[in-house]
Symmetry: C3
Amino acid sequence: MNFIHLIDYAGTFAFAISGIRLASAKKFDWFGAYVVGLVTAIGGGTIRDLLLNVTPFWMLQPSYLIVTALALFSVIVLGKYLIKLNNTFFIFDAIGLGLFVVVGIEKSLSAGFPFWVVIMMGTITGSAGGVIRDILINEVPLIFRKDIYALACVIGGLVFYACFQLEVSPTITQIVSASSIIITRILAVKYHISVPVLKGSDED
Amino acid sequence: MNFIHLIDYAGTFAFAISGIRLASAKKFDWFGAYVVGLVTAIGGGTIRDLLLNVTPFWMLQPSYLIVTALALFSVIVLGKYLIKLNNTFFIFDAIGLGLFVVVGIEKSLSAGFPFWVVIMMGTITGSAGGVIRDILINEVPLIFRKDIYALACVIGGLVFYACFQLEVSPTITQIVSASSIIITRILAVKYHISVPVLKGSDED
Amino acid sequence: MNFIHLIDYAGTFAFAISGIRLASAKKFDWFGAYVVGLVTAIGGGTIRDLLLNVTPFWMLQPSYLIVTALALFSVIVLGKYLIKLNNTFFIFDAIGLGLFVVVGIEKSLSAGFPFWVVIMMGTITGSAGGVIRDILINEVPLIFRKDIYALACVIGGLVFYACFQLEVSPTITQIVSASSIIITRILAVKYHISVPVLKGSDED
């Protein structure tokens, strides 16, 4: 298990925890909470893989199911003590997001798509899981209303594209792109930066 | 039409009825109710087939559309007299669930996936339709909160796996696996057995 | 850019506007509104393409993303003045619907599916985007409860099929089929024609 795998597992764990905690607030049973946690963790990559017409990544190795089971077990055992770890989870989530987006970008790039598709696929990889999570718990998706989340994925994609055009080495490109996402997330949450709310035609 | 087809149609009918009845409680029109009934009946198998990257099963023969139309017609004509048949529908639904899961398992197995994927595909085949149904009528999915439903599919999958490892004949394997699902459902509903609710970090 | 492209863009614009306006009523931010607008415009065709197992149409050219960006920009700049254009949008939407359905029909027909699948694919192309839109803003899908919308798509499909059987020339078939959808929509809204509400078994 190398460093990338470690980040992948930490990100999956953080994503799964976010789903499981929201499910527990809605009185889901253990099985339901597991499903919501799993969908949060793998939903974005699954939609990406369906759009790219390849076998969904989690069908090729069971680690995502196992990590989600560990996340469920942690919530069951640790319960409300997990609240104190909110900042830890935020960091895990941000790092996981950075990695997920970069993985999504590279997978789409190697499938031969142009960069505007690639950036969309990176964004979908990072943020669609949270959207499906919110649909399952019957809430308006959080990322459409709060903080900079999906936009951080787009920024990471643009940074990746810039590095790619400047012929930066692949490893540096990955690190710089993922870092730009992590930093955007941290700054957005710390300074309450958000995208303006749309004042549209239906408002009074 | 052989016995398997008969069960397949009965299960489709029961699944469609469950969707149409919930849609009628939400004042959907006939067309909307038909769509919800159809999605309940074919949604799980459709997601399975998209994940397996094969043509969705209902695009290959029109019987599922016809059976759903019969289900809609029954609800329109019989209306509230159907309430008295609740137990009949429960049995149809349980038998249909058993069959759907076994069909999903065999299709995924013959596509060459390992057993943990196969069991997931069986569970998705049996329960994802009900989840999409609940999303369409804008409710929190019932199976995440009540009774043992998706878990019965997992149990059926594990039984199938055990039979497979013990080299039980295919027909016996199918019958034993489907029966374990049907029996689990009946016991769970009769004795109000359910998965524990998750007491998580967001509760007070 | 020929006439078909012009209608395609106008339809995409009208569909995107409908999503963006509903998102703005829910206080979505700009990014969220863009996503809802985009999904409304491309959601139906995406589900069709996933079912047909071909690369989603919008991944092959960026125009749908650009038109959706123009729609968002219009709502931001023009805001409540857009309300006065409701009738214009309705006409755009009806024309776009007619075109989308015909495009969906032709794509599925050339993939070799029988006509009952083809008509379903046309209907999905025209109406599934609005269903996903309503799921994202956490409302019961409008088309299941109000006006004739999805049914107009089915009617257009049946008209297409009739023309096809009568060996009408392709161009005439397209025009007659799309027109039947547009006229159905206009008549349904003008005379408040709707599908009957289902009085089902759960009502008291």
